[in-house]
Subunit: 876 residues, 2 copies
């Protein structure tokens, strides 16, 4: 039997959105539950993929099935496509699995030509309506199928209106419209070299093909890349018999939501226009009326519509976004779908619907897009103030939230200004670890270079400070403390405002409003916590971050990086002396200087977290990262260490690496300089024991070794750690418990996780590095080609934003299995940026991790996403 490419509405249902697209599936569903839907059929998404795979060719089989569908539609409507007396007209619309702007949208009135327009005119007894429908059809077809600049059509209308002195299109007479049609056809001939197609079947097939082709137009590809929609979904095409809202004053068209999509209020919300077709509502030529007015204008229709809205909301169990048309007093539903809503509305609706008994808590938490929570956690621009904002540049939305303040160009200036009580936006070409304090002091961070994973972006997200990064159209002149954007120069102290959720940079100061975290937000979080399996930890290097994360509901710390502590201004001299020590003895001396500082760091962390677990990672980056690069700093250090500048430079040079990512770092440092690992271990254990004694908390330190690739490495370093711990325990007369584990971030460790687990007591997947090594990319260098890869549609998802499930994920899944073979009860988590990304979280739940760890501001998102993952993975 031939493959089925075409489905009548009566043949489908709402579960078939993959095959029929969202619109087609819902039209079928509404048909099934007996609602008034103009009938039609759907050409499937599979047909679209087949068309693309065959280099844009509709197969004969497909054409036959479409013609068969038209015949059935003739029978259903009692009209006939192309008939000279009672012609059937149809609309043609795209409809993908998920709503997706950028593709070809709608063609109405298809089937009209010089003959059928006369029949329509006669049958409707409304020649003006018929000719207006005809000229609209040619205009839409010319625009979207034939790709003719639509201004060419508008120009004709404008010219006639000006000539005749009309203000509105509605003043055009039948003769005017006939002239318009004639001139439109001339435009088509000029632009395409061919006559406007008069054969309805020909019109239909061309329209179907145009929809299929539009799946791969550049805007659509960009949209899919931005929204992580796979490129192999394809779109369906819906062919539907026309109903007319423009038949007179007992006709009309409108859109409405079953609840308020901005606030969530449980009340019909929407608008409509009398005597209009769909496009008029959007076009904004006439101002639509609020939906409530319909009750006065057409009480019967309103009643029927309100009932239909109830039926649909109950049926789908979610707030609906509906399109409808009233054709000569009769209501028709043209579309329904789950309505988009703001984050506050999403919370309100979810909570309300549970309280109304319409949905369960499990369903409620799946109704809220986890990522959307982000906008609730940060300050936002006041809507009204924002309207007056002037955008001067646009970059990457690197860390969400809105910030306003005076611009400063160095971390020092930013700190000084903030101490003066000023609001600060820190502006840098790019940031480096030395800028961290300045970043902390600022309301927002703006950089002209760097991507979503640049230092500025990563650190800002960690801090919850808004950041716009990689704004390539501004020029930052750090030396002269000024920036140029859009031809205008801004100097130190000038106000700007940045929106880290959109990437926009505004001139001047814009008012911000603080986040609101109680009420519905708290309720939803509580439900999420009841449902989820994954624990949620946070990545935090300071008591301040730890505190923030606790407020957001973190249950522990999955990653404390010890190197950030090393960059502190007070310590970096000692760190550098330690690194450049000529021998172990000298190094141990300088390490002894660092010990009390590190210990204080860890005490601070334990004081905040108490019994909640903290995984502390031993020193990870290559040592040269800590060394000075500026001439004056080198000179100062040389003097400080009693060396000549040449010696110092040679020393620094000898630590340089060709590929630092793959160099002397992580566990390799701990193997070659066990004294560093010993110092850090001592600092951790002394801190834990002291805080445990002071507070009575039962603290179990988790010491994590980074970058392990071989069992032998962890075995060697574990020996250093355990020996140090046993010494500390004896000195302190303590019987504290502890765990020693490892990051899984080297492909070899993932492949041989069963061996690694013989030594490691826990695993923490470092999916950032694992992604880099598995792909063979350096994130810092990938910018040169990765954007081109995205544009070409190579990625289903950006592997640094959401874990590459089939490649990197396969290694993770396999490592989980192997690790559990060796230690069935082993605790496993993830501590890369993926730990806060909903799709990744779903994957981590599925492969059986115990926790995810993310930056503090992602904790609520992770809590919700983990609950959603639990629900979805249970269903699978």
């Amino acid at each position: 039997m031939d493959k089925k490419w075409v489905y009548m509405f009566s043949e489908g249902n709402a579960d078939q959105r993959n095959l029929l697209g969202g619109k087609g599936a819902n039209l079928a569903e509404m048909t099934n539950i007996g609602l008034p839907v103009p009938q039609g059929f759907t050409v499937s998404t599979e047909a679209c993929l087949d068309y693309i795979n065959k280099d844009n060719e509709l197969t004969e089989e497909m054409v036959e099935q479409i013609e068969e569908g038209m015949k059935k539609l003739n029978d259903i409507t009692g009209k006939k496509f192309g008939d000279e007396e009672n012609p059937l007209l149809v609309s043609v619309r795209s409809g993908a699995r998920v709503s997706m702007p950028g593709m070809m949208d709608t063609i109405l009135n298809l089937g009209l030509n010089d003959t059928t327009v006369e029949a329509l005119s006669k049958k409707s007894e409304n020649p003006r309506f018929a000719w207006d429908s005809y000229r609209r059809f040619i205009q839409m077809f010319g625009d979207v199928v034939q790709e003719i600049d639509k201004n060419k059509f508008e120009a004709v209308l404008d010219e006639i209106k000006e000539r005749e002195g009309y203000n509105y299109d509605t003043e055009l007479t039948v003769d005017d419209l006939k002239e318009v049609v004639g001139r439109y056809k001339e435009i088509v001939k000029e632009e395409t070299g061919e006559e406007f197609p008069t054969e309805p079947k020909d019109q239909l097939l061309k329209a179907v093909e145009a929809v299929f082709r539009s799946w791969n137009n550049p805007r659509a590809i960009v949209y899919r890349n931005l929204n992580e929609i796979p490129h192999d979904y394809g779109t369906a095409v819906n062919v539907q018999s026309m109903v007319f809202g423009n038949m007179g004053d007992n006709s009309g068209t409108g859109v409405a939501f079953t609840r308020n999509p901005a606030t969530g209020e449980n009340k019909l919300y929407g608008e409509y226009l009398i005597n209009a077709q769909g496009e008029d509502v959007v076009a904004g030529v006439r101002t639509p009326e609020p939906i409530a007015r319909l009750e006065q204008d057409m009480p019967e229709v309103y009643k029927q519509f309100a009932e239909t809205a109830h039926i649909l909301e109950d049926h789908y169990g979610d707030m609906q976004d509906m399109e409808f048309t009233i054709d000569d007093g009769k209501l028709y539903m043209l579309q329904t779908r789950n309505g988009k809503r703001t984050a506050p509305a999403a919370l309100q609706i979810a909570v309300d619907m549970v309280n109304e008994g319409k949905i369960s808590k499990e369903e409620a938490i799946t109704r809220i897009e986890a990522k959307a929570l982000d906008q609730l956690l940060h300050p936002a621009f006041d809507e009204e103030s924002l309207e007056e904002g002037v955008v001067i540049a646009e970059g990457l939305a690197a860390s969400p939230g809105a910030g306003t303040g005076k611009i400063y160009f160095t971390a020092e200036d930013a700190i000084a200004a903030a101490e003066n009580g000023e609001d600060v936006i820190l502006v840098r070409k790019e940031t480096s670890p030395e800028d961290i304090e300045g970043m902390h002091a600022s309301n927002g961070i703006l950089t002209s270079r760097g991507g979503m994973t640049s230092h500025a972006a990563v650190v800002a997200r960690g801090m919850g400070t808004c950041c716009v990064a990689g704004v390539e159209d501004i020029v930052v002149d750090e030396d002269n403390k000024k920036l140029t954007a859009g031809g205008k120069t801004y100097t130190e102290g000038d106000y700007i405002s940045i929106d880290g959720s959109t990437g926009k940079v505004y001139e001047g100061s814009i008012k911000t409003v603080p986040p609101e975290l109680s009420g519905n937000f708290a309720t939803i979080m509580e439900w999420a916590d009841e449902i989820r399996n994954l624990d949620i930890r946070t990545n935090a290097d300071s008591p301040r971050d730890a505190k923030q994360a606790l407020d957001f509901g973190a249950e522990g710390i999955g990653l404390t990086r010890t190197e950030h502590m090393f960059f502190d201004e007070d310590r970096i001299p000692a760190v550098r002396r330690m690194i450049l020590s000529p021998d172990r003895e000298t190094r141990e001396k300088y390490l002894a200087d660092l010990l009390p500082m590190q210990k204080e760091d860890f005490k601070g962390m334990y004081e905040v977290m108490r019994e909640k677990p903290i995984t502390i990672r031993l020193l990870d980056p290559p040592l040269h990262e800590f060394l000075p690069t500026e001439e004056e700093d080198i000179e100062a250090l040389a003097e400080d260490m009693d060396m000549s500048v040449e010696e110092m430079k040679a020393n620094i040079d000898s630590l340089k690496e060709f590929n630092p990512m793959l160099g002397h770092r992580g566990v390799r440092l701990a193997v070659t300089y066990p004294e560093i690992a010993a110092m850090q271990t001592r600092a951790i254990m002394e801190a834990a024991i002291e805080v445990a004694e002071e507070t009575g908390a039962d603290i179990v330190p988790e010491i994590m070794i980074p970058l392990v690739g071989m069992k032998e490495e962890i075995k060697d370093v574990k020996k250093t750690i355990v020996e140090t711990i046993e010494k500390v325990k004896e000195e302190k007369n303590s019987d504290i418990d502890y765990e020693v584990g490892t990051m899984i971030e080297i492909p070899r460790a993932a492949v041989l996780a069963d061996q690694i687990a013989e030594e490691a007591e826990f695993f923490s997947f470092g999916t950032n590095d694992l992604t880099q090594m598995t792909f063979g990319y350096s994130r810092d260098d990938a910018g040169k080609f990765i954007n081109e890869y995205k544009e070409k549609g190579f990625y289903q998802v950006d592997p640094f934003a959401s874990i590459d499930q089939e490649g990197v994920g396969k290694l993770v899944e396999n490592a989980v299995k192997l690790g559990h073979q060796t230690r069935p009860d082993m605790k496993m988590g993830v501590c890369g940026e993926h730990g806060g990304e909903p799709n990744s979280i779903k994957f981590f739940d599925k492969v059986g991790l115990d926790y995810v760890s993310c930056s503090p501001f992602r904790v609520p998102i992770a809590r919700l996403a983990a609950a959603q993952a639990a629900v979805e993975n249970k269903e699978d």
Copy 2:
């Protein structure tokens, strides 16, 4: 039942070398076939591992079994351990699975003390013998068990000899020896704080423990690392009843080979000493007699020994290395093992034994160590001339062979001197691609920096030129054209000689002898070719290398790197202009300049190889590698390209990368600059078509895309390649076949090889890069820690020398399976350095690759190793 730790010789056999060690298994085997062996027992290797795992403790169970063994030995010998009248004495020796210097070796005469020495004296009627045995025992026990500096013992002997005016030990009287014993015991007490152990059982257990401990002494660990012997083999201990070669003139001891180990000649070869114990033969105090003399001295014993030698060689089917003792006219065999031999001897013996009908061709080829062939393929120093050589420095044996010549410090100078007919040794701090011509012109290459995988080492091995790299104790002053070694300075034109097989650097000129590749070598190669499954290809970038490899038996080229061609002096300007082109159009113009040159390169290759396959890899390294780094070159290029020097520097800077290994290279270049891939494809195809026409050869070009990690990448680039090829075919009116394949060198590609295989028509595993990414090492930077890893025994093998079978190999094995799932007949090979390494080759044969590709001078090794792999994998 208790585990069995102790085996009497009569309980074992030759197949149990893993359990009993080589020595123990062979003693058991000789016992079984009825040869005269002093009886004893073996404590197993498992016992050693158990001892080490229990933190150096002999379990009670083990002690009981050892005592049980001694009781049985008492019964067998009719003597009694520790008995006051007829004491049993034993020797204690280590014996691992493979012969392994560095461990504790031998203790003789164990069981002697002040009482038993008297019994021995009486029983042997030879007090001098008894007391000499006693003092030897204390000395050996003190040295190896108690770790007392043996010079302390020697000093006593020397003092007494001087005092008494003796020349030889044999002049010592019984009283002298008693004095020696007394003073030895004092030394022991002084050094250990305890009396010398008088209890024989105590002596025995201490000796056993010392052997076990010696498995992990530093020398043993280093030896295992150097020889890629796993650290978890453990050693066995052999306890054997003593026989005495020092009982008088009808006693003696010796070692002999069944054939000549230097030449392979089929004639007993060895030496012996009358009236001596084993150590005297080695000590060199008396000059031993050649074994043939024994026929005159003791004709009956000689006859028995010659027969025994025959029996053993026939039994083991290989040349034997034997130790024997004659105790009062009676022959005892103390050891037999397969004899070590030189490479020429190995060939001779293998060929002879096949001709004698003793072994099959399959067995013959397994008798030759593949690596050892290397010494036959290169010039070597003339033995006699070498004796006068003065070593002035030592570095890494980076590329085998011997070379002598005048030193030059730049590639240009080397080329000029070679053109003048001089022998040249090129001396550099380190080499770079610009030095390649100079390296070609030289007899040898010496560098003061870089490891076994530095540019100099890799390129020299590829060329077959000898190289000593990383000679850290010389100072190379390139500017002043001199080098300093051992406090002496050598200037341009001075002669030195280097041995790339030992890493030694000699002063002056030393005569070399050319390799000999006919005769036995050719016979063995022919047999290997009959037996092996793997094809052997070579890595070659020039017709010269290709020719060399063909002479060595290569069956194709597995890797032609196109970038080496780019570095040619004539081309690099065009290459640089191409790279720095501001747009595609300009770049295409410069690429057109390069096209005829690349085409000529490929024509040269095809003219040599004809129908034999050549896999050509598209451009791989990051583009910045081709750009100038010296100020003057930058200035010249700026002028050439009509840019300011600042612009040029900014341009060069913008191409720099943090981690070039993980940067914009390989397929990523081909995706972003398809015009480069198109030019290279065109050059390949035009060359192939033209050579096919000129020669009538049926050429099928293989175009290889490097660094692929995603199916989408290869799909995209393949499109460029195929379009170009179709154009060329049309232009040339050709219907040539071709294949497009990929390297598998990114972990993700290995994990998703089934997907990659949908696009790739062949796989070539790039195990160099795959090893780097799987371990997360950059080879260039790993030096800082990798040596420490080796010293600590982390590696079973150096993963860059021999493939890491359990980690990287697991990815390879899996990728082979996945690739074959998609394309069952897919051709797969390997083209990294591992392709010429015997253990790796065995692995590649096992996982089902079709070919290995290695540098030309490794081809004979690979042919032999592949045959050995076929035999061994068939057995498995």
